[in-house]
């Protein structure tokens, strides 16, 4: 029986190797297959003919070949490893790494989302002669090999909501969170709570979650990974990958494929190589803290040594995180830092942290992410300007503190007192004087009762609802900037002509006077971002900053340099993000604009850094922070993880700003998709959209590609996003300025200077 099992084990190993090195011709694999075939032949002809020694010999051969093949792994092979059904999954880890666990929030199919697994797990350890139980909350994607209902680890929005819920539970109970990233990417359904918006919410909460978080990355695909991956320490398994997009997706984008076509395997291989997705690449770039070595060709459920290693690593890392902020650590901190062997288990560190330690922990996490991806952008600012900017920043911070905190607080308190007193006085006066006035009115003739006659014209003006004869109630059609398209002498048809029977529009009217809005149905034709810069944000009067930050090609992605140069030349911008200070109806504000014409408004390291600096500037100056998204296609895939890391980075910046009491407003225009919406844009409490814009997590093409479901043509329209609760209002383009001003006055936190 044992023999049969060993043969079966060898057969599994062989198929595994053949699957991993799909369509690669290698002598070792051929040799293994031949040897195994020979043995099976003998085994079949003489039942029980296989000797124990022979099995041992072939076992050794397998070990040797696996070690040898391990050195030849390409990035795409690693992708195949993590996707293989024999790869370890979260259930295996729960069984083998933790001493006990209880799955909570669902079991198997009876689950809000079976692809997200939550468990309360325990480490039981003997330290000295005491047995210690340490609780953790385990959150991670379960691929559930062979279980179709798990959806291959693609988490639906409600799965991420469940994860968030239990993160909060862990926070309440003050136990560490261990997250395990085993996902090829999130599932792109837009139903409430929304794929992008839920990931954004998770990131926002994780940015300030007051418990230690340790993440283990095995398969990390973009947004799905980030939803639980923002951690104090990130461990990566050596045969895993962490990437902005699957190599197939990147290849499809590179080749410009339409739906239905498949990219060639060579192109996919190349993209996998260029995206720098392996553990070493991520360690080198600083996006993971440590790489945990796996057995040759990747960990499988029977590698018990690996599970022991993982257990040690998890305990040590959690100890490290805790010890880095604990006030009482003494010698143990040093021991934790230096321990490399199994004695991590013997160091006991209480994982519950005090309130002040938790503050330090959150601050440390935020700083850690702030410092990332420095190498992935160009900063053309000179040393002098940088020094000046730093000094200025300090001065603003000090000024804000003096003016709004030290003096402002007293003034506000005084004002509040006066306000209350005034209200009291008003009421008293009213009570006392009203009877007097009534008596006077009664006595004196000709006072009251008779109202002055209102003229017909005034009456008409007051009672009329709208002015239909003046067209679309346009008031003032003189825009500070009109689109150059308005010079064309031609007409254009509204896309809603079938349903709304809009008459054709003369282009100079449409783009000149109507600001690109169909006067018949209100459809908004796409408008250049300069229109908003000039007509809404008074760009000519404003002060741009960090203009020297420039996008680059950090991964040396093929042909990307020329593409970037072309974009820079065509748009005159250095990155897709413009940040400036302006004043909207006398209210000073910091604005960040993502411009669609620059590489689709995609976000990379330079854009992220500019965005973060803008948020910091707004914090220092106590100004509202407005993100105008002219359009964004997501994270720039050619920058790889350098791009994807901007999701947590910017979200942390936004969180810090909002926590500091600012007002963060997001305005979407044209098309906004993917990463940015699923992080720093989607987490805003005030999100608005210009009419006729599209908002979503994945575009219709990607949805049908990944899920096989085709979505209705209007699936991502702003009105649908509004009805799903993803945005909080839809604005007419001509009223953006007015609405922005209104929002500035009525929304936002406590620390705005004009409040």
């Amino acid at each position: 029986m044992d023999r049969e099992r060993r043969i079966q084990g060898l057969r599994d190993r062989l198929t595994y190797i053949q699957d991993i090195f799909a369509n690669r011709d290698d002598d070792s694999i051929r040799l293994l297959a031949a040897k195994f075939g020979e043995m099976m032949e003998r085994h079949r002809s003489v039942p029980g003919g296989t000797k124990r020694e022979e099995l041992a010999r072939i076992d050794d051969l397998f070990d040797f070949s696996e070690r040898k093949l391990d050195t030849t792994l390409t990035p795409m092979d690693r992708v195949r490893i993590v996707r293989h059904p024999q790869r370890i999954c979260l259930k295996d880890i729960l069984e083998n790494v933790y001493d006990n666990y209880t799955e909570i929030g669902g079991r198997g199919e009876y689950n809000i989302d079976p692809s997200m697994l939550i468990a309360r797990a325990v480490f039981s350890r003997r330290v000295g002669d005491k047995v210690i139980n340490q609780m953790v909350m385990v959150i991670g994607q379960e691929k559930g090999h062979g279980e179709a209902f798990r959806n291959g680890g693609s988490v639906k929005p409600w799965g991420n909501a469940k994860a968030l819920h239990y993160m909060k539970v862990a926070e309440t109970e003050n136990i560490p969170v261990h997250t395990f990233v085993f996902t090829p990417g999130a599932y792109p359904v837009e139903d409430w709570p929304g794929a992008a918006q839920q990931i954004a919410r998770n990131l926002y909460e994780l940015a300030g979650l007051r418990v230690p978080v340790v993440a283990v990355f095995s398969e990390g695909g973009s947004g799905g990974a980030e939803a639980i991956g923002l951690a104090d320490r990130r461990i990566m398994l050596s045969h895993g990958y962490y990437s902005v997009i699957s190599p197939e997706g990147a290849a499809a984008i590179e080749a410009g494929l339409r739906s239905g076509d498949r990219a060639t395997p060579e192109l996919i291989e190349k993209c996998a190589r260029q995206l720098r997705i392996t553990a070493e690449d991520n360690l080198r770039n600083g996006y993971v803290d440590r790489v945990l070595q796996e057995p040759p060709l990747g960990a499988r459920p029977y590698h018990y040594d690996f599970f022991r290693e993982l257990r040690r690593e998890l305990i040590q890392t959690t100890n490290e995180v805790v010890s880095s902020v604990k006030s009482m650590k003494l010698y143990r901190a040093m021991a934790v830092r230096t321990s490399k062997t199994d004695d991590a288990e013997s160091i006991y560190m209480r994982w519950t942290l005090s309130s002040s330690a938790l503050d330090r922990l959150v601050d440390q996490r935020q700083r850690k992410f702030r410092a990332m991806s420095r190498h992935a952008r160009l900063d053309g600012t000179g040393v002098v300007s940088r020094a000046v900017a730093a000094t200025k920043g300090t001065i603003w911070a000090a000024h804000s503190f003096l003016r709004y905190d030290l003096l402002g607080r007293q003034k506000r308190r005084l004002n509040a007192v006066f306000e209350d007193l005034g209200a009291e006085a008003h009421l008293v006066r009213h009570k006392v004087l009203m009877p007097l006035k009534k008596a006077m009115d009664r006595m004196l003739p000709g006072n009251g009762g008779v109202q002055p006659k209102v003229g017909e014209a005034v009456m008409d003006r007051l009672t009329r609802l709208s002015c239909p004869e003046d067209g679309a109630c346009l008031v003032g059609s003189e825009w500070a900037w009109t689109s150059p398209r308005s010079q064309e002498d031609r007409t254009i048809s509204c896309p809603n002509v079938r349903t709304h029977h809009c008459p054709d529009l003369w282009v100079p009217d449409l783009f000149g006077d109507f600001a690109g809005v169909c006067p018949s149905c209100g459809h908004h034709f796409p408008m250049e971002y300069r229109w908003y810069l000039q007509n809404v944000f008074d760009y000519s009067e404003s002060k741009e900053f960090n203009g020297q930050l420039e996008s680059m090609n950090p991964l040396g992605y093929e042909k990307f340099d020329t593409k970037l140069d072309k974009a820079k030349e065509r748009t005159g911008l250095k990155s897709a993000c413009i940040t400036f200070e302006t004043s909207i109806e006398e209210v000073d504000a910091v604005v960040a604009v993502l411009c669609a014409p620059f590489r689709g408004g995609s976000v990379g390291a330079a854009e992220g850094e500019k965005f973060i600096r803008a948020a910091e500037r707004a914090t220092r100056k106590r100004q509202p922070f407005i993100a105008y998204v002219h359009g964004t296609a997501g994270i720039r895939i050619q920058e790889g993880v350098n791009g994807v890391i901007q999701m947590p980075r910017c979200t942390i910046a936004v969180r810090r700003y909002i926590d500091a009491g600012g007002l963060y407003l997001v305005l979407y225009d044209t098309n906004s998709y993917a990463g940015p919406v699923a992080s720093f844009l989607g987490c805003s409490p005030y999100q608005f959209a210009v009419q006729s814009s599209n908002i979503g997590f994945a575009g219709p093409g990607v949805i049908s590609e990944t899920t096989g479901i085709s979505v209705p043509p209007n699936y991502h329209k702003a009105y649908h996003a509004l009805s799903r609760g993803h945005i909080h209002g839809i604005w007419d383009r001509r009223e953006v300025k007015k609405n922005l001003h209104q929002s500035l006055l009525t929304m936002g936190g406590r620390n705005l200077y004009y409040r």
């Binding site: 002498d489 054709d504 003369w506």
Partner: protein, 216 residues
């Protein structure tokens, strides 16, 4: 009484509908490469989001608009004399011969053979509980309606009023509205078939189902 056989013969004699594609507005016509005898298709995709075969372009004020085929069929005539010329709205540009599908034929015959009871106003319609239950338990064609019978409830603005049937006595053959749908004024609600014609109609439908080749 309706002569269904005659009707069917008439449909069989010319089993297609001619669709004349006209210029929707004035403009200069440029035909796409379509020739008589060529097959064209109508809008496709799950949501009919992909337009039909391109037939021609119409340009007015430098605004070029495409004219796609409205339905599946074969091109019969292309009025090529208009190529590159200015036409007025309503000018016939092409003719498409659309072969009737099975469903369309059945619908055509039913519309002729059945008495259609139409919605008197835009509202939601429900059957009265007795009728509803009978329909659910014994299926359609189990309910007989006669003049003056209260059989529907008109539900509008939270106001529910009974609706009285008026028309020839017969059996409910088809129901054209769904539960909770808003039905426009004048749209058919039910099709009523006189009892003696039921077998004839069922026979015809069965025959069309089996014989008609053009499926969709």
């Amino acid at each position: 009484m309706l002569n269904i056989k005659e009707l069917l013969d008439k449909v069989k004699a010319s089993p297609y509908r001619e669709i004349v594609v006209r210029a929707p507005h004035t403009g200069v016509v440029a035909f796409a490469a379509v020739k008589p005898g060529e097959k064209v298709h109508g809008p496709r995709g799950e949501f009919l989001e992909k337009p039909g075969t391109l037939l021609a372009h119409l340009t007015r004020e430098k605004n070029e608009k495409s004219i796609p085929a409205p339905e599946k069929g074969v091109i019969e005539v292309v009025h090529t004399q208009h190529e590159g010329r200015f036409v007025e709205a309503g000018e016939p540009l092409l003719t498409i011969k659309h072969y009737l599908t099975r469903k369309e034929v059945i619908e055509l015959i039913l519309q002729e053979a059945l008495y259609l009871f139409r919605a008197p106003e835009r509202a939601k319609y429900y059957f009265v509980p007795e009728v509803d239950q009978k329909l659910k338990v014994s299926g359609k064609r189990s309910v007989k309606v006669q003049d003056g019978m209260e059989f529907l409830i008109v539900s509008r603005m939270k106001r529910e009023t009974p609706l009285v049937y008026s028309g020839p006595e017969g059996i409910i053959y088809s129901v054209y509205f769904g539960r909770g749908d808003n039905v426009d004024e004048g749209e058919p609600l039910i099709g009523v078939c006189p009892e003696d014609q039921l077998t004839v109609i069922q026979d015809v439908v069965a025959r069309i189902q089996s014989e008609w080749e053009e499926e969709a």
